[in-house]
């Protein structure tokens, strides 16, 4: 039985894991870098150990140091959270060797999930549909043309040595394919001296839909419904919801079965997520398995009633999953907004610094997982996720309006946040109608709409702003008459 868990992470996810451990009477060990000595996870854990400098490589990724703390503190299990070491099979191996339970899949299974080619092969064998295309590299243009005709145009030619949009060509017929093949080959040779090309079906207006699943050491597998995570920026999820507006009971069960086959195929244990692209015609294509707890797990918790961290601990303890697929019933609707410290208008550039004041929303159907507290700091060394605001409702509309009210209540002083953008999105007809796709922001010009919304908001607030300015000037005048003013920073001299 696991009695003491080290959380090899920080921020809201460390707090999330600590919370369940506390409720279960399990002791927790926090680790922290120089940057985090005043962070909430240090304060909430049973014990806390300093592990190094701010840079992740010198602290949260420092396997030797973390192992040292685990051995010193008598930890019997480690929860990796997400990011950092969560999908590092070397670390999973290191834990296994030192007889510390790694709360996640085995190193072997993790390795299989992480190798895209091997994983795709395993999926084909398990009859889990992947994006149609060449099973591996194509030999030549003729080979590519044959495959393109099998899977149907448009197709994408992709150099495996490309990246960031280079070495990719979308073609719609045999002629374009032959021309494209030549130029992609040329580009790739020019860039890296060699070429190797894949053919894949090109999908437009796709949705990102993923399935939570769990598999225990006895081979029992369940899926815990889908999550739609189509609203993204730069391939990073912003808003997630469950159920997906376009998944019905039949689809849920059908794709869910393929998810269980996928988990079995890679010999998975513990909780994982199978990610799919959903084409506009309704087909689902497996992309990859995320071998860890996901950021967006709370929406699944809301509709399933499960504590997913508790389920992770149960499975890590070698217990069978305490319910059957047929026991799981989806209850209501949940939405998560990732509250990032970023400036939407600077292309989502990071915004960091001290947060002197915070008001965290609460109320019926509202959950907020966050590391923020008044007086905390948003560090530039780690990722920009400050809080996960999650709402539940009996209907989608109830969860949406609760989210809007909660977004309005959320006050974070000192840094830019993605909150205004989410208000614009949640108020849009396209979002309300469930017309989602991974290019949602661009497709519907959300940033421009946000600009308009903010201008309107400014107009609404202009009288109040003036009032604040008038009082400030008065206050200032009165004070400078009565004191010596250091002109260089008078602002701080007033009190």
């Amino acid at each position: 039985m696991i009695e003491k868990v080290l959380i090899a992470n920080r921020g809201e996810i460390a707090l999330r894991v600590i919370r369940t451990c506390k409720a279960l009477g399990i002791k927790t060990v926090a680790v922290y870098s120089d940057e985090d000595y005043n962070s909430m996870h240090v304060k909430q854990a049973t014990e806390a150990y300093h592990i190094g400098e701010a840079a992740p490589a010198k602290s949260y990724l420092n396997q030797d140091k973390i192992l040292e703390v685990m051995l010193k503190s008598g930890t019997d299990a480690v929860h990796p959270g997400y990011g950092f070491l969560s999908e590092n099979d070397d670390f999973a191996n290191l834990c296994e060797k030192n007889k510390i339970i790694f709360i996640g899949p085995t190193a072997e299974s993790m390795n299989l999930c992480g190798d895209k080619m091997k994983c795709k092969a395993a999926m084909l064998k398990a009859e889990v549909p992947t994006v149609p295309g060449s099973p591996g590299l194509v030999k030549d243009a003729g080979d590519a043309e044959k495959i393109a005709n099998e899977i149907g145009y448009p197709v994408m030619l992709k150099s495996v040595y490309g990246g960031g949009g280079r070495g990719i060509r979308i073609v719609t017929n045999d002629k374009e394919l032959r021309d494209g093949f030549e130029s992609v080959t040329g580009e790739s040779i020019a860039a890296v001296g060699k070429s190797a090309i894949l053919v894949e079906k090109y999908l437009e207006k796709t949705r990102h839909i993923e399935y939570q699943f769990a598999r225990d050491t006895h081979g029992n597998t369940v899926h815990i419904f889908e999550r739609e995570c189509s609203i993204q920026r730069r391939n990073q999820k912003l808003i997630e919801q469950t159920p997906s507006p376009i998944v019905d009971e039949e689809t849920r069960a059908r794709v869910g079965k393929s998810v269980c086959r996928a988990a079995d195929a890679v010999g998975y244990t513990n909780l994982g997520t199978a990610e799919f692209l959903r084409a506009d015609n309704g087909d689902f294509y497996f992309i990859e398995i995320n071998a860890r707890l996901q950021v967006e797990h709370p929406i699944t918790e809301f509709v399933s009633g499960l504590d997913l961290v508790k389920l992770q601990l149960d499975i890590a303890n070698g217990e069978p999953i305490p319910f059957k697929q047929s026991d799981l019933k989806m209850n209501g609707y949940a939405i998560e907004c990732r509250i990032n410290a970023e400036d939407t208008f600077l292309d989502f550039a990071p915004s960091t610094g001290p947060v002197p004041d915070v008001i965290i929303p609460a109320g019926p159907g509202v959950r907020c997982d966050t590391y923020l507290y008044p007086g905390c700091t948003v560090s530039p060394f780690y990722d920009s996720l400050m809080a996960k605001l999650v709402t539940w409702g009996q209907t989608f509309e109830e969860s949406r309006t609760r989210m809007l009210a909660a977004l309005n209540d959320f006050y974070i002083q000192g840094v830019e946040t993605s909150i205004p953008l989410y208000k614009t999105i949640l108020n849009s007809d396209e979002y309300k109608n469930g017309d989602l796709s991974t290019d949602f922001l661009k497709r519907y010009g959300m940033i421009d709409r946000l600009t308009k919304d903010l201008k309107k908001e400014k107009e609404e607030k202009s009288e109040a702003a003036l009032a604040a300015a008038i009082i400030h000037s008065e206050y200032f005048k009165n004070r400078i008459q009565n004191s010596t003013v250091n002109n260089s920073n008078w602002k701080y001299k007033l009190d």
Binding site: A349, E457, E463, A464, A468, N489
Partner: protein
């Protein structure tokens, strides 16, 4: 005093009409009088009720003729037309924005990963001056005008705060 709000095509006249005591004021904006009650106030911000609506404002920055505040989470820049020059220090760095401005400032905080120019280089508007890293992302800082690099104010691996001058371009 006369005010303009950035991005809004109106200008406003505003003043305190009367201090009623007990933190209650009557103020006038253009031709309309409003009741204002201060709930709390210090040099960093104010909470008040204006005509029975609660507001919370934070004072960010003030120069001779510009004031940045965040009201109810909405950032607003006010242009002031007044004569405080004798007492107010203009703490917004250089003089104005655009081509006349010497200083290129970073709009984000971060660590300098690389510097792409040297002092004396001729550069164009939009050329990358340096690259910062923050929250696992790399962000390029680009020149705000055509010109010659006079001085570079940062070093590789140094930490830059939001608003810090990165370089001076003449």
């Amino acid at each position: 005093m006369n005010y303009k709000i950035q991005d809004i095509e109106k200008s406003f006249d505003g003043k305190i009409v009367e201090n009623l005591g007990n933190n209650d004021y009557i103020i006038k904006i253009n031709d309309n009088e409003h009741n204002l009650k201060i709930i709390t106030m210090n040099s960093n911000g104010i909470e008040f009720v204006l005509d029975n609506k609660y507001h919370k404002a934070k004072y960010i920055e003030q120069s001779t003729n510009e004031m940045n505040i965040v009201i109810d989470n909405v950032p607003i820049t006010l242009n002031l037309h007044t004569h405080f020059d004798e007492v107010v220090y203009k703490n917004s760095g250089g003089g104005g924005t655009g081509d006349a401005q010497l200083a290129l400032k970073s709009q984000i905080p971060g660590k300098v990963v690389s510097i792409s120019i040297s002092e004396g280089d001729s550069i164009k508007k939009g050329d990358i001056v340096c690259t910062l890293e923050s929250m696992k992302m790399q962000v390029a800082i680009k020149s705000h005008k055509d010109g010659v690099v006079k001085t570079i104010k940062v070093k590789e691996a140094a930490t830059v705060a939001k608003g810090d001058v990165v370089a001076e371009i003449e």
